[in-house]
Symmetry: C2
């Protein structure tokens, strides 16, 4: 079975009954599973993690979006997190047995359907983007729901699918294929924030570091230490271990030890297998040798009726 | 869902129709999955890997054993591998959500059923063993099928379950709970077999090394290098990375580089997660953060009707 993951973001983080009604849409379909969901009342936003067979996942995403359009009115929405739609963004992430190209195709099919059937303007982003400006989600979202009524009139912001007018209550939505995003933090045995900041600069793309690393230095007040907090946006091209080893090297020059690290949220098996590969110098990288992966494939095949 | 793995060994590695008939018994049950099977004609032996819900796995093992008793006659069996039964050994391995104690209990239930219903003498081995002598499978198997007619009469070799007489065609069987066995080899950049042998001695239990390591030095003639070939019999207590690092240290003193390593056959996710944990100094070891593991749990729960 091919497996795609998606973490759609909805602009409702307070009214439980609405969040539940949206999640329920994914639960009622075969071959798609709700792995997790969480809401932030301050952001007034919910993030749902689903995964499954590609067609089932896009069906679930469509049904969830439809429900969100019914139940969320952005004209009354207030929250700390920037947002432009009732369903704000729908990333599709290839997990197993599916290429980036297939995943991009999938996002376009879903975007077309949302545009045509739900009458919401759709912007393809990340790997699915139709222009450079649309690759970056925050570029698309700039102006938010309120500003989009004007922004959408600009020729460079004509939607990829759907009407040329903002949906009156549901706004617009970004749909796209992207790589799995890993939140990886490294903790340093010092209370000197400058060390964390310098190391963050050393590894992050924007200041000359690795292409797929975003990084900031933080203080962990309670522990009296500092942290390099990162998003790895493509672990296949910028693997965890390489970033870790460079941080270790840079920390050494300040005489600062690495006291630990953490992965926040979920991580694909392959990202960890890469770590074992590197340090053990494994000659054969085969995730199917991992018994849980083999079991997943076997059960998934059965569920798939193969 | 609790998951148990088993790799029963059957004394038939040549006649395909018999092997298929045995494997088929595991395929027809719910909540148990055949992950792999392979036969060795020289050994005249087949190894099947199944995994699933504990009760379903033991049902499958019983049905496979019953079929093996019907179809295999040890009086006519010749092969290079030592053997004492038509179904020779049934290891049960706890994979997920099940303790060693529960797994031992499971092996006893299965042993009792095989003894009583199939009239085969059963020896509990490894963690399930009822005496020190029975922990080691090769100790039990000594004498093989032919010698067991006498051996079984010795008071110390009275079976744990079943009749006190060898089954005329199916012999005896060992059933027990054990940890996952990892075949891990490290390749050294030298053609000097002595280096591999010395390092094997350094890490293996029998000569003063790690408790759960068996190791030998080999020549890889084609590549012109040598290999430390190992079985790690308890990766939880003797983790892969620790053995690897000691081999690296010992190799250094001979000025020999490590050119690679390999895991032969399957490996539990946790064994690799341990590696990532160690090298990245992860502060939180949580396999459920791995998306494939989460997906497996979620799908398995659904299959389980929870």
């Amino acid at each position: 079975m091919k497996i795609v993951e998606s973490v759609p973001n909805f602009s409702e983080g307070r009214r439980k009954e609405i969040i539940e009604a949206i999640v329920q849409e994914a639960r009622t379909l075969d071959k798609v599973w709700v792995l997790d969901y969480s809401s932030d009342p301050d952001h007034n936003r919910s993030v749902v993690t689903i995964a499954g067979e590609p067609k089932a996942v896009t069906d679930a995403l469509f049904n969830m979006s439809k429900k969100a359009v019914e139940l969320i009115d952005l004209r009354k929405h207030r929250g700390e997190h920037p947002r432009m739609g009732a369903v704000d963004v729908i990333p599709l992430v290839p997990i197993m047995g599916i290429s980036k190209e297939e995943c991009v195709e999938l996002s376009k099919e879903l975007g077309k359907r949302i545009g045509e059937e739900l009458k919401i303007p759709v912007y393809l982003y990340e790997s699915s983007a139709t222009s450079r400006e649309r690759e970056n989600l925050s570029e698309i979202r700039k102006g938010e729901f309120e500003g989009f009524h004007e922004k959408i009139k600009l020729p460079e912001w004509k939607p990829d699918f759907g009407p040329d007018k903002v949906h009156p209550t549901a706004g617009v939505v970004a749909v796209g294929c992207r790589e799995f995003l890993i939140a990886f933090n490294v903790n340093l045995g010092t209370d000197n924030i400058e060390v964390a900041r310098k190391i963050a600069k050393a590894v992050r793309h924007i200041s000359g570091g690795f292409r797929y690393v975003k990084a900031l230095g933080f203080k962990l007040e309670e522990r009296g230490i500092v942290q390099v907090s990162m998003n790895l946006t493509n672990y296949k091209k910028t693997p965890i271990y390489r970033v870790f080893e460079v941080i270790k090297l840079e920390a050494e020059r300040y005489g600062v030890p690495i006291v630990g690290s953490e992965i926040v949220g979920m991580v694909p098996l392959n990202a960890l297998l890469n770590v074992a590969d590197f340090y053990l110098r494994l000659e054969d990288h085969n995730p199917n040798l991992i018994i849980e992966k083999k079991l997943l494939d076997t059960i998934a095949k059965e569920v798939d009726g193969e």
